[in-house]
Amino acid sequence: MDEFKEITSFDRLIHEPSRLAIMAVLYASAGADFKYLLNATGLTKGNLSAHLRKLEEAGYLKIEKSFKGNYPHTTAALTKDGRKAFEAYRKQYLALAKQLGK
């Protein structure tokens, strides 16, 4: 029952698998471009764009758009809030995993 309560208290924005993958990649770096995120997460372009937008609206990441030659170039990086939120989430799930492992 406690474990169930624990799971329901997870940050739902991060807990969604696709967004969790995005946050994990950005947490391990100072930023990544759209192409890297596509390859790392295996999402489609549309899906990735939608999830990035959602995370940006929540203030968890910032998106920068530029051009490399004639090609648009999008990079994303976690904000301070995003980093804090992911650390809290990670701490929670690692503790839960340890608990369940017992």
Binding site: A21, A28, S29
Partner: protein
């Protein structure tokens, strides 16, 4: 996208990405090699005689200019390779995979603390060891460089465990053990610095070049297939 996200694996892979092409090692190798070189040159009698002549001809400011110039060598090594790295990654190595900006804290605090502690312990141990060469005025310098070598070795071993890249384990072991040899030869300060810098520099360059060769071949293969 699989429902089960292996978060720790994703974090690890992204951290490894910065070091997967060997360019960082090449940069560190050039930096260490150049620092070793200027340590040797900076106190070499011929260089000092040259600087003295400059002082007589142009005044004391010439001393500052001379030392600023030689310090430009490692600075150029650091920033020059950084620019080349970014260019090579943008043009070839990361063209298909996408770009990642490495975290400023690429090395964890734990690893840095372990290395710092090893340096201090190394200094204590080095000065307490019965000297295997004749005690001369430069023994302290050799102990300092040997300790730096042990600390660097421990750093790479701890980093290897932290980031899961096995080659750093070997770099740490070989470099750390080889640094002990500095205590065996009657090297002066500059010579010890040169041997230390070039030794680590060559090893890191060789490792980085081997990894880069593999990464380049893989990229070329992807271009042919894709």
């Amino acid at each position: 996208m699989a429902e089960n996200v292996d978060v720790e694996q994703l974090i690890l892979e992204t951290r490894q990405f910065e070091f997967a092409d060997g360019l960082r090692e090449i940069q560190y190798g050039l930096l260490l090699g150049s620092i070793g070189f200027i340590t040797w040159v900076g106190i070499h009698p011929e260089w000092l005689a040259y600087v003295f002549r400059l002082t007589q001809d142009f005044g004391s400011w010439a001393v500052w200019m001379a030392f600023i110039l030689i310090w430009l060598i490692p600075i150029a090594a650091a920033f020059g390779t950084l620019a080349l790295m970014n260019f090579a990654r943008r043009r070839w190595l990361w063209r298909e995979s996408g770009m990642v900006k490495a975290s400023r804290i690429a090395v964890s605090r734990r690893v840095n603390i372990i290395a710092a502690v090893t340096l201090l312990v190394g200094l204590v141990v080095g000065f307490r060891l019965p000297p295997v060469t004749a005690v001369d005025e430069w023994y302290a310098a050799r102990v300092l460089y040997a300790s730096m070598g042990w600390a660097s070795g421990v750093f790479f071993i701890a980093f290897s465990r932290d980031i899961g890249l096995r080659r750093y384990l070997w770099i740490g072991l070989i470099g750390g053990l080889a640094s002990t040899l500095l205590l065996l030869f009657p090297l002066q300060f500059g010579e010890a610095g040169l041997v230390f810098g070039l030794g680590w520099g060559v090893m890191l360059l060789a490792s980085g070049a081997a990894v880069l060769w593999g990464a380049r071949k893989k990229t070329a293969g992807e271009n042919i297939d894709g």
